[in-house]
Structures are given as structure tokens and as C-alpha cells.
Symmetry: C2
């Protein structure tokens, strides 16, 4: 078994990379630009070159490299095949095989970036010590990554963990980015919280800090912490929808722990005051004791999870 | 690798057993009584004796037995430990270890009976050829079994696949057996369909075959087939709730196929006319092409799935 592992988090603008030992300690982190021109054909060669340069710099022979893991912004099946990543100009091909050729036979594994980040949080983040985990990313949208017995649940078409699109509300007039109406994402993402706040403010003229013009998710939770009653009502609605959605997820995959990340999670532990009781109210009793924790790795979750992809236990 | 496998489906009244080859052909099936007295302490020794007797009868040496799989009515973790089966008088212990002792070291694996039946349907039933499957049992309740990459999703506390308790309706006055209100099981089980029928009949005095007194799930779908408009309305409501529930399941685990079994499934393909469109309406587009099939193995799903538990690929 090699001593070193490379974790690669491939994004639309930059590629983040990390050099790890197999215990999960990172000794170096760096970035390169994602060159998307020519249908993204430079991306993997660029990554391979960057890794080879790092191996030369650190005097690491290929025999000491356990493998290279890559997280990609698109659906990747369990064999390492990407099924289109429009963002990168990529069609359907085996990232695993292509990258193994480019690096002279070093083992490569690939996964979807949200799922890979979930694996990172399991390994060295908010879910450390658990093997059955649901990572929930509350950002512009609501993403999810599901880990079962220590492995990513990819699903039939790479849509495993798309929990932001669980139907939650029947009479939603606005449509979700996915085309449906009433998806969890419409209430529990940063955008969704902001919408809930605007709607609440329109209901009456109760005094609130939120009337100052900023109804962002951050403003809502800052106002909650400042004791603003209207903001608390918004948080109650957010917690109701998210708790109900996570209860449906738990009745399906029964995780040990939910790890909450993304921009909204910067509000901190106060989120759990609004989510957990609603979760317990709606979930099957056998799932009631699931834990809730905040994600810890931030933007590094991707490189950690990618490294973990190639480490077999 | 041995040539033979025993599949055991342990129920509260009888234990069903089957002798399989490793390709999944069953050459013998038989039953013994489940002796529940003395805290269920006779059950595993009875099963072991019955298997030894069958081996003697068929002249099968232990070296030719690949293993024994057991499905049990209670939560079994991924290590083969049962966490209480009140129905059998059992507490917490390792079925795997106990049974391996009783059979002189033959490999044993154990799982929850609903999950094991799902595995059977994947192996030789309605889900044959698929490795990512959700089995849905529409019986007295609504049960589920989830198979990911060919393996049972057990969950943290053995509650993986408890999809009957996904919250579906907000204003349900009656309580579910689990204590919550508005669970999927309250609308999609045989009992639930019957309740939907009674409620529909009470709404007005529209003519219907169902006014003859029988509002069982079977009567409802028989009436649907006979063109009864009121029964069709009941089926529409059933399909709406079930389709919505399965959409939430799909946004989480993204199966290739749903396999529908249990008493209600005897209505046949007509069920899909009511379920599938509603499913497609509520699910994330990446999961829209999941297939729907009827379970095929009936009461034998348990012994097939139990046998499959010990066959590694």
C-alpha cells in the first residue's frame, strides 16, 4: 500500500488539489485553473501534469502513491464514468480509465463532487466516526450526499442524494429550477430562506430588522440571534420544511447523522433549534435519534473526500 | 465454493426453508413450526436440526454448503445482530454467531425479513437484472426494502427502507400505527385504501359497487376494473399519495426500479396506471425513468433473498 494519496476537487473555475497521507493528513494544497476550452480536453492532462510535477518536487515515486481521487461537477457512476458535465464541456467517458492512462497506471477513482464532499465530511469532518451519513448542503440550492456503510450512494443515474427536490409543499405557485413546484430547495436553500422572509414581511407590518432591506439567509439568522420575532417566524418555517424533508430521507436511508454544510450553515448551531424538533416530529421512531452536526471542512471537503475515494479499508 | 445454499425465512408462525444451488435454482422447499416458547430459545436449534436432517437426507457434506441465510422479523444490523424481535421473544444477540455454532461452522448471514425479500426479488423476481432497487410491500402496512449496488441498505438502526412512515398528508386526524399522523402507510396499504374508499363514499351518494359493503383494497381494484367511477377516484387518490411518496424515496436513493408486492399488488398492472404518472409528476427529472414492476416471488421471496445473502459475487 502506498503512503500518499492525491485528492482532486474539479470545479468550473479552478481545480483544488491536496497531497494526503493514507491516514488523512494533508501536507500540501494547491490550485490550478480549469481550462474549459476545446470541450474540456485539457482538464485531465493538466491535472495529471500538476500531480506529476508535485511528485517530482516532493521526490515521491509512483510506487508510493496509493491513488488519485477526483470529484467532478456532474453525474459519475460507480465505475468512474461521467455522464455529461455541461459545465466542463464533457460528454460521456471513463474518467478513471483516462486518468489512469495519463498518470502511467496509478489507481484513479472518480465521483460526483457533492457526494465526494459528503465522503470527506465522513472521513475527517462533521461526520467523523460514522459510516452512515447524509450530508446536506444549504447553499444557492439544497444538495445532498449519502454515505451508506462508508461508501457513496451513487444511484442508478447519479441522482442519489438529490434531496433538494423532494416535494414538500403542494400549493407553491413559483417553480423550482428543476421545473417542479414545491421542492425542498425552494424553502431551505439560501434563496429559499430569503423568499420565506419576503413572504412573511408581506403578510403584515410587524416591526422587524429585516425591513431594512436585506432579507438574505445571513440577515435572517443574524436577526434571529438578535431576538427579532419576525425573523424567528421565518426560521420556524424553514425548520419545518427542512425537518420534514430530512424525515423523509431518514425513513429511506436511516442515517446515523446529518451533517449540515453550505453557506446557510454559517449561521451555526442555532439552525438545529429550528430543524431538529420538526425532524423528530415527522420521522419514524426508529430514526428519531439521528444526530445533527455542522460540516467542518468547508471548501476542503472535496479534496478530503476525493482522497478517501481511493483508500480502501 | 460450495454448491448448495440454504435460505431460511423465519416468521412468527412457521419457518420456511429452501435448498438452492448457487445459481438460484431451488430443489426443495419445506416448513417447520416456529416454537416461540422459552423466549424463542428453541427456534435457531430447530432450524439447525432441520437443515442437518436435510443434508443427511440429500447426502450433502458440509463442505458443499456455501452457507445459510436467514431472514428475521426484526431489525438486524449489518453484522448479523438482531436488536429485539418481540414477536419471537428475542432480545439482542448475534444470529450469525449463534447459528454458526449450531451448524458446526457453516457460514451464516442474517437480515431483516422485508429487506431480505427485496434481495430475493432482485435476484430472481420482479427486479432481476437490476442492482439498485426499491421493493415496496403494500399489505396491512407499507413496507420497503432498499438494495444499493446489490446489497441491502440496513441503515443505522435497521430502519432503512421504512418508507411507509414518510409523512405525506398534513391534516390527517387519525393516527398511524407508529403514532404519527399522515404517514404513507395510512393511504397506500390495504387498510389505507379501504379507508380512502370509506371516506370517498361518505362524501356524497354517487352510485358505486363499493356501496355493497365490501370496501377492501381488493374490492376497490375489482370495481376499478369493472369501470366503477367512484372506485377510480379512490385509486387516483391512492396513486397520488404513493406516487408522491416514492418520488421522495427516488430523490434520495435513485433506484433503477421499483418492485411492488404485497396483497394489494394482486390487483396487477392496473396499479401502475395510477402510480406512475403521479410519481413522474413529483420526482426529480434525473429519476424520472425508474421502472415499475410487480413482485414475482410471492411468499417465496424470503427464502430466495435469504439464500442470496450468503452468495458473494
Amino acid at each position: 500500500m502506498g503512503k500518499y494519496v492525491f485528492g482532486v476537487d474539479l470545479g468550473g473555475t479552478t481545480v483544488k488539489m491536496g497531497l494526503f497521507d493514507t491516514a488523512g493528513n494533508v501536507s500540501d494544497k494547491w490550485e490550478i485553473v480549469t481550462r474549459k476550452e476545446d470541450s474540456g480536453s485539457h482538464i485531465l492532462p493538466d491535472i495529471a501534469e500538476s500531480i506529476k510535477a508535485k511528485m517530482a518536487e516532493k521526490d515521491i515515486p509512483a510506487s508510493e502513491v496509493e491513488g488519485i481521487g477526483i470529484g467532478v461537477p456532474g453525474p459519475v457512476d460507480s465505475k468512474g464514468v461521467i455522464h455529461k458535465a455541461a459545465n466542463l464541456g464533457w460528454g460521456v467517458f471513463s474518467i478513471k480509465e483516462e486518468m489512469e492512462k495519463l498518470t502511467g497506471g496509478i489507481k484513479v477513482e472518480a465521483g460526483n463532487d457533492a457526494n465526494v464532499a459528503a465522503l470527506g465530511e465522513m472521513w475527517k469532518g462533521g461526520g467523523e466516526g460514522h459510516r452512515n451519513l447524509v450530508a446536506v448542503t444549504l447553499g444557492t440550492g439544497v444538495g445532498g450526499g449519502i454515505i451508506v456503510d462508508g461508501k457513496i450512494l451513487t444511484g442508478a443515474t447519479g441522482a442519489g442524494g438529490e434531496i433538494g427536490h423532494i416535494h414538500i409543499v403542494d400549493d407553491e405557485p413559483e417553480s423550482c429550477g428543476c421545473g417542479n413546484h414545491g421542492c425542498l430547495e425552494q424553502y431551505a436553500s439560501a434563496t429559499g430562506i430569503s423568499r420565506l422572509a419576503s413572504r412573511r414581511l408581506a403578510e403584515d407590518d410587524a416591526a422587524s430588522i429585516l425591513r431594512n432591506g436585506d432579507v438574505s439567509a445571513k440577515a435572517v439568522f443574524d436577526a434571529v440571534k438578535a431576538g427579532d420575532e419576525v425573523a424567528k417566524e421565518v426560521a420556524v418555517r424553514f425548520g419545518h420544511y427542512l425537518g420534514k424533508g430530512l424525515a423523509a430521507v431518514a425513513c429511506t436511508v436511516n442515517p446515523e447523522i446529518f451533517v449540515i454544510g453550505g453557506g446557510v450553515s454559517k449561521a451555526g448551531e442555532v439552525l438545529f433549534e429550528y430543524i431538529v424538533d420538526e425532524y423528530k416530529k415527522y420521522v419514524f421512531h426508529g430514526c428519531r435519534d439521528a444526530k445533527f452536526a455542522l460540516a467542518k471542512l468547508g471548501n476542503d471537503a472535496g479534496i478530503y473526500g476525493a482522497a478517501k475515494l481511493v483508500i480502501t479499508e
